[in-house]
């Protein structure tokens, strides 16, 4: 709080900051940088800035505020061209960032990272706090430029090749990731475009997904993507996207494509949580995630005649699911009843009560608990796989029948209304990915539900869910393709006999075209 600042602190801060900016912008100082920095720190000491943690905090807050005030003054000055404005702003912010980077690098004792990381977290927290206050204050007149420049340049400075900074890489990335999480678009919508730039910066992605050993950066990055999907979700539920939403959505697609190309294993491992957050109508965006497969895997051509999917070695391997999805099966007594039913197929009332657990409101568009639906489907499926494998069988469309697990799936298919059924079938289709035990089981499950459906509406909706994921532009998940091909090729399913296949010329043409490519 400004009012609590000791008298004279603002003037001292302004003086020191101006001094430093001037020193920084003299280009011939590189060789004497350590000497210059040491001398500047002594000056800060002399002014009492480094005496206590409280004073250091106030200094940084004041200095940040001075920089941000300058940003608004320069941007609102009509005599500056956009290029001149940016150059002036960057002179100040880059200098301030460089000072912070040097302080982080050199603070504390050698070999002890705590002081350095504490200082970094302090500064990031201060800038984050000022940004959020600024957004509140300025509303739609909020300017992202200064903050964007601050974060990107500080990140680049702390990512420069230096033995000390390299040893702190995980802590530095964690600090930035947490800060970006606290700045996510739901909390700072005026910063959303700059935020997406920050989290998709080529060096940020490289560090967090590739350079940090043992994939320790992956959970941090998955949180940021979840923040992005959750922010976009309400705006993507509408058919027509406003231009600002279109831009952010397109930017998100680009980032996902880079991830699909360079880090498909990341998308594979975290797909479940992502599918929870992505609205059901964002079919292409979801397909990008579901189409990912490990780079060392060779996918058999889904159009291979007589492809024996159950003979593939990968069918025996369970994919990694980096999500605590079982936790979403709430409340605890529901989970208990579910486990009881899976074990003993009792009590039978469990099935009739299932729908009431899944339906949470009467509000159109949010009547069902989608995370619970997704978790329930995956949990029941994985339990089914374990159960079948415990008897030394490989799941197929015959042996998955007549089980507690299939009871639940069939009950959901029959008992839910069209919206609930659509969401249920989506939950199954979300597991149709690259060759693995889940893809295989859920492919068999959906085909079994089609074959055993007691109403054409169920078959129609299964077809709808699969087809809408196929008619969208590429990419398409492998498991989706093999399931659909099986459905239309295998005479058991009598697919072509159904009225809904021929309900309109466009639909007939679509199926014929898909069938031609499959045959």
């Amino acid at each position: 709080n400004d009012c609590d600042d000791p008298p004279g602190l603002q003037e001292k801060t302004e003086f020191l900051l101006k001094d430093w900016v001037s020193i920084y912008n003299q280009s011939n100082n590189l060789s004497r940088e350590t000497k210059i920095f040491t001398s500047f720190v002594q000056k800060m000491n002399m002014y009492g800035i480094l005496k206590t943690d409280d004073l250091i905090t106030r200094f940084f807050r004041q200095a940040t505020q001075i920089c941000i005030d300058l940003v608004y003054r320069i941007l609102n000055d009509p005599s500056n061209s956009p290029l001149q404005a940016r150059t002036k702003i960057f002179h100040w912010i880059d200098a301030f960032v460089h000072l912070i980077a040097l302080l982080v690098r050199h603070s504390g004792e050698a070999g002890n990272p705590t002081t350095k990381i504490n200082l970094l977290n302090k500064v990031l927290g201060i800038v984050l706090g000022i940004l959020l206050q600024d957004q509140e204050l300025h509303g739609t007149a909020f300017q992202q430029l200064g903050y964007h420049r601050f974060f990107v340049m500080l990140f680049l400075e702390l990512s420069s090749p230096d033995a000390v900074l390299e040893s702190l890489m995980l802590s530095i990335m964690t600090a930035f990731s947490h800060t970006y999480h606290l700045l996510n678009p739901a909390l700072a919508p005026g910063f959303c475009y700059a935020w997406l730039e920050l989290i998709s910066h080529r060096i940020f992605i490289g560090r967090i997904l590739a350079q940090i050993p043992q994939q320790k950066g992956w959970p941090l990055y998955s949180q940021l993507l979840l923040d992005l999907f959750r922010y976009l979700a309400p705006f993507l539920r509408n058919a027509e996207l406003a231009k600002p939403v279109q831009l952010l959505y397109k930017g998100t697609l680009r980032v996902l494509l880079v991830l699909l190309h360079d880090f498909p294993e990341f998308l594979c491992d975290y797909h479940f949580g992502f599918c929870d957050a992505i609205p059901p109508n964002c079919i292409q965006m979801r397909n990008i995630i579901l189409a990912a497969f490990p780079r060392n895997m060779r996918l058999p051509d889904p159009f291979t005649p007589n492809l024996k999917v159950d003979m593939l070695a990968e069918t025996a391997t369970a994919p990694k699911i980096c999500s605590n999805y079982v936790f979403n099966i709430q409340p605890a007594n529901f989970k208990k009843d579910l486990d009881s039913y899976l074990k003993a197929r009792a009590p039978v009332t469990f099935l009739s009560e299932l729908r009431s657990h899944l339906q949470i409101s009467n509000e159109p568009g949010s009547r069902y608990n989608i995370p619970l639906m997704n978790a329930l489907v995956l949990y029941v499926g994985t339990q089914a796989i374990s159960h079948i494998r415990s008897k030394n069988f490989v799941p197929n469309t015959s042996n998955i029948a007549h089980s507690a697990h299939m009871d639940i799936f069939q009950n959901l298919a029959v008992d839910l209304d069209t919206e609930g059924r659509y969401l249920f079938l989506n939950a199954i289709a979300n597991q149709l990915r690259y060759p693995n035990s889940h893809t295989h089981y859920f492919s068999c499950a959906v085909l079994h539900l089609f074959a055993e459906a007691n109403s054409e509406a169920i078959q129609e909706q299964i077809t709808r869910v699969l087809l809408e994921r196929l008619i969208v532009n590429r990419p398409h998940p492998w498991g989706l393709l093999i399931t659909f091909i099986e459905l239309i090729k295998n005479p058991i399913y009598k697919f072509w006999d159904h009225d809904f296949v021929h309900c309109a010329p466009e639909i007939s043409r679509l199926f014929e075209s898909v069938a031609r490519s499959c045959m």
Binding site: L196, R202, L209, V258, Q284, D499, F500
Partner: protein, 176 residues
Amino acid sequence: MVNNQFGMVGLLTFIRAAESDPNLVTLALGNDLTGLGLNLNSQESLHPTFAGPFADHPCRVQDVECNVPTEYLINYAIKDKLSAPILNKLQEDLLFFLFYTNIGDIWQMMAAAELYGRDWRFHIEEKIWITRIPGNNQGKFYYFDAQSWKRMSKDFQIDAEKLDKCPNISALVNMN
């Protein structure tokens, strides 16, 4: 059939809307992702040259910062020790390089003087360097295009008053 948005009729609505108003079905039918400016068939990783979510092309080589050892950053140590380039030995493209990259510096003026000595003239209004095409008296001239960094030819109607005079280097040197 299912008579709401969750069946085949719902899907048909998207398909029909795509013909009349593609904007309504962006999410349902998707976009051609190859048009987003990423080389999805690349054998190399994409992220090292990813120019950002709002760029429609990757970074060019010159956009990607390379951290060089500090020992390489020697400008401050040697800049006053380098001997001056001998302009009359330099090829034209290097003279243009000096002219366009030494803004506000005496080297810009010296490069301009050397170009003048080689029959190039700076057009004050067009802000380009032009010269006659040897053997051509019909209004066609060479000009130097700094954007494409090429010498191009074009028809010009030249008003001699619009051509800059030769810079007075000795005056500048004395002033300095």
